[in-house]
């Protein structure tokens, strides 16, 4: 009967309840869309950034991250590859060997980063081949390498020219080599663009006297995949005494900070949105309570406990918020799914900027469940908070005073 009463009470003033619900409905849609877009943009950005650099997760020999030396490399391990590729969220994994060297042309020398890669695997992730601006992409058997665009310019080198690399190999062995430049690659990241030398991993292992050794295995996942979950699983199945498993947030804390900072801003905007609805709902609850004082008086006179009356009032605000929120989430779902299929595309300057970073110029929407549950939780708490106020109002009521009004 209490539920029945609450339900009928909220429809006593149909128009008012409808307007209140509509405001919650649209605010929820807006908030869910905003969150979906923000989350989607971050996921997109992260996906792009990590695919050119660290990958979502890397496996190293324990201790490598603190001392990034070729001496902390480890033997390629089929078992490890199996464990990694068993994770169904992992779309691709690439072994890499990474070190430093001095690169010289006839008259210039630069400090460079040398990356040993499996060319066709690497291309699937970083689409390196598309970024060739001069010459051709390498294959795994080649005895030649790729220079980043800025580096080639600094050294005054073109495809077909020879570059000399000088470094220290595994465990102090001397490492030197003379290799033709097969292609020149443009990177969006200025840092990479002026420093990176990529070569087939077997060639690099030979030069550094590090047969079968790699420094990392980088894991790629689907955009928006649950990285924490994969990381947890890996940690549970892998020998963590030997390996360290790191995610991009650990490897690129600055990027994570930028995103978290940005998110805080988004929360403020969404917070204001919710504040606006909260006041709308509050007004309705307040009116619903005010105009029924006499009725409350009657109920208390005939023996209804205040506690019970407060429960009815709480159920009422709850029902309003709940129905509207649910409707809002259901309403937002098709919109999100539609934009997921047909993402908003940037044009003009923004598109150029995205292009230069090799990113698709779109606003992808995330349809992750937590985008919805988060908003539901927020509205839930607002509703609780507001209904508590109304319930307290009822609680402080005296039957005799209520009856007089």
């Amino acid at each position: 009967m209490l539920l029945k009463m609450a339900w009928r009470n909220i429809w006593r003033n149909k128009r008012r309840t409808f307007i209140t619900m509509a405001s919650v409905f649209f605010a929820v849609i807006l908030a869910v869309l905003m969150r979906a877009a923000n989350t989607g943009v971050y996921e997109h950005m992260v996906h792009n950034v990590v695919s050119f650099s660290s990958g979502y997760i890397q496996v190293h020999q324990k201790g490598y991250w603190n001392e990034q030396s070729i001496d902390n490399s480890f033997k390629e391990d089929e078992k490890l590859y199996h464990l990694v590729s068993d994770q169904k969220e992992v779309t691709e994994f690439v072994p890499r060997l990474e070190s430093f060297a001095l690169a010289s042309s006839d008259d210039k020398t630069k400090g460079v980063m040398v990356l040993g890669i499996v060319p066709d695997k690497e291309d699937k992730i970083t689409r390196l081949q598309e970024k060739i601006v001069e010459g051709n992409y390498i294959n795994s058997k080649d005895r030649s390498l790729l220079l980043s665009e800025g580096l080639a310019a600094n050294l005054g080198l073109h495809t077909g020219d020879t570059v000399v690399l000088l470094s220290q190999g595994y465990h102090g062995a001397s490492a030197a080599g003379k290799y033709p430049v097969k292609g020149i690659v443009h990177f969006g990241s200025p840092e990479l663009n002026k420093r990176l030398v990529s070569m087939p991993i077997s060639l690099m292992q030979e030069m550094y006297d590090a047969p079968d050794l790699i420094t990392s295995v980088s894991l790629m996942m689907k955009e928006g995949a649950d990285m924490e979950e994969v990381k947890k699983k890996l940690i549970s199945v892998m020998d963590t005494a030997h390996y360290e498993i790191m995610d991009w947030k650990q490897m690129m804390p600055e990027l994570n900070q930028v995103i978290e900072g940005d998110k805080a801003g988004d929360y403020i905007v969404i917070g204001i949105l919710y504040l606006v609805i909260a006041f709308g709902v509050f007004g309705t609850i307040l009116m619903m309570t005010r105009e029924r004082m006499h009725e409350f008086g009657i109920l208390m006179a005939v023996g209804m406990k205040k506690r019970l009356l407060a429960v009815v009032v709480m159920i009422e605000s709850f029902l309003i918020a709940f129905i509207a929120t649910l409707a809002g989430m259901i309403g937002a779902l098709p919109i999100i799914l539609w934009f997921k299929e047909h993402p908003i595309r940037f044009t003009g300057e923004i598109k150029k900027m995205y292009d230069s970073y090799g990113m698709e110029a779109i606003i992808p929407l995330s349809n992750k469940l937590n985008v919805f549950t988060e908003q539901a939780a927020i509205v839930f708490f607002i509703a609780i908070f507001l209904s508590v106020y109304a319930a307290r109002k009822v609680y402080s009521l005296k039957a005799i005073d209520a009856l007089r009004s």
Binding site: M1, K4, M5, R8, N9, R12, H294, E295, I298, L299, M300, A301, V302, G303, M304, K305, K306, L308, K398, A399, I400, L403
Partner: protein, 228 residues
Amino acid sequence: MEVVIDAHNITKVYNEKSIPVNAVNGVHLHLERGEFTALVGPSGSGKTTLLNIIGGLDHVSEGQVIINGTDITNMSDNKLIDFRLNNIGFVFQSYNLIPVLTAKENVEFVMLLQKKSKAEREKRVLELLREVGLEDKVNIRPSELSGGQQQRVAVARALASKPQFVLADEPTANLDSKSASNLLDIMARLNKEENMTFIFSTHDQRVIDKARRVITLVDGKVASDEKR
């Protein structure tokens, strides 16, 4: 005879701190089971105040209220709610009913609060609605009932909890004379058939004529008390 209401020296002063209003002034009231009593007096004579006090809705400034042997003078507001539920039936002047509940649900509600079984509720509610002549309005909401019908539902509700007595503050004030006398006839019949004690305030002479005891208040004091 069994005493239902035993009130001594009831005194109520409003606004004690600013401009005191002596609404009720040393009233003694003694009601026995089965009485059918009218409380009369000019407007402002203290009828509502007195009824609220014996109904456990308001506290006295002085005096003592004993209902069916229980002293409620200093009972807390919260305890009084429960006490009212099980001991006192109320009929107010108007807007007695909960608008979102049907006639049946309005009557049933107090029995629900008393946690009576569904079977018992169904039986008594229909019985009471039949007694007040509304068996065909069971599922109608108050807004679709006439003023007289609404008051009859209120009377049925007042009896539903099987209280010690029913208290009605000007129950006919907003009714036409035909509905008013009809309501009084119903109350009188319930008084006889269920031996239910009634006390009601009024200043309608035709209503007063139906009472078997008439207590007249003037300026918060009992001016006369006659049994007929």
